[in-house]
Symmetry: C2
Subunit: 268 residues, 2 copies
Amino acid sequence: MVSALLIAKSRPRLIRSSSTLQDSRDMSATCYECALRECGLFKPITPEELSVINDILRERVSRPAGAEIVRAGDGSPELYTLYCGWAFRYKTLPDGRRQILNFLLPGDLIGLQAAMFDAALHGIEALTDVELCVLPRRKVWALFGKKPALAFDVTWLGSREESLVDENLTSVGRRTALERIAALIVKLYKRAAALGLVTDGTFAFPLTQHHIADALGLSLVHTNKTLARLRKLGMFTQGNGSLKLTNPRALARVAQYFDEEIPLRPLI
Amino acid sequence: MVSALLIAKSRPRLIRSSSTLQDSRDMSATCYECALRECGLFKPITPEELSVINDILRERVSRPAGAEIVRAGDGSPELYTLYCGWAFRYKTLPDGRRQILNFLLPGDLIGLQAAMFDAALHGIEALTDVELCVLPRRKVWALFGKKPALAFDVTWLGSREESLVDENLTSVGRRTALERIAALIVKLYKRAAALGLVTDGTFAFPLTQHHIADALGLSLVHTNKTLARLRKLGMFTQGNGSLKLTNPRALARVAQYFDEEIPLRPLI
DNA sequence: CGAAACGTTGATATCCTTCAACATGAGTGG
DNA sequence: CCACTCATGTTGAAGGATATCAACGTTTCG
């Protein structure tokens, strides 16, 4: 484990605070000075591999919160790595009901499934302001020929996303509302912690109750009441966009949370 | 589309009827005479690629219905291709509640996620008697170096499985019980049809109501009543292990089913 | 024959949804 | 600066969808 201090020193601001930024670009960014990688929280790679990844990267773009990163039904979508901020994948039924499939945090690959099928079966939306590393499809496919180890990492990241959906499905299908919300918070807490984003039990929590409801298959009203119930139980406190776990153990117990340790992950 | 006759001629018995077979092996099987591939329902490959796939194959094994193919928590699980029969992936909560994540049909890759993480986060169970092509992990990873196009196909199959889980999550989270069951049946029907397993609207349907309930996050009793309701609506009939859609259009409408065409898929 | 797996049905309970109203804060245009 | 809207969060009441409990029928299989 890396010390909290070390992380703090080299950590990028993984969530941008400015909310006025538009669709902007930063052509100067290269993978050699990737603040995310410098955290030391991702699988180490060789200098040669790093150079190949850098060749793939086209640019880094910013999108404001609420922006559609991938539109459902779009053909030939690009691939991205989420560099900073949060996003989520979702599906909508013909009559408008929405299901959030999983949340995306920095380091997550965005749009693999969509790129595979040449058409997105789901939408991807920025939850906060985000920065994305654009990885042109052709170049990623070329990767399979050039650097098998990195191609393997792409597949690995795909499997990891599936495991997130698996967990969420298990919650929605078999946990009560109280357990679902507890499990969601514990999971996001663990993921944030694995990125060095938790300080003293507190981490940025940009979800609205609407997002929680849509992720967990609950109504807005019931989500609100259940959230209040967990708060009254002393599980956590919330304040201006961040959440503090005051009783992580109890929350995990309520959630029937089963810890699934996944090894150090790659970053493409 | 391939004609029904042609399919019938070259089609293997994709579900074995004998229920007494034990953990048996068939060392003689090679990928050159793969009945599944001969159906012409999978992405064509070059003779050279076929030979590489044949090198990967270790053997073909049979497992009886109910057998555990991958046990949750197991380390270093192998990879398989489901050659014939049905299976399913599932998770269980500490207190025993079970969620079926998705069903596996012939041609589906089994255990990719488990192999990636070096430990299964879920179980995989044979729903019917099955035959599995065993693909040793080392050889599959070697594939990434030797045949990038096939490595790409592995990733593709992983993404496809994720899309199945996505769809199921959307059902469980946002559809009513009636819609969920309708959507499940329509989806399985489409998948069976894509394998040439549907004749005159009828296909083998080995799920018990217990499986349906666990896949859709419903109770057994409510599943039974809802199923009865759909039957009374004239949507389908059931008899000794097979299901016949008598009104596919109406069923898809009830399901709020949104057709997601996926191109011809690979077979590893 | 008995047990176990599977399916069916009715009665009751409860979790969750829906409807409705209200509070707060941010942004916007007058 | 104020009125207005909109997004977000909160709370109470009522209804409905689904769960739970219980009993029974059928088939399969040892």
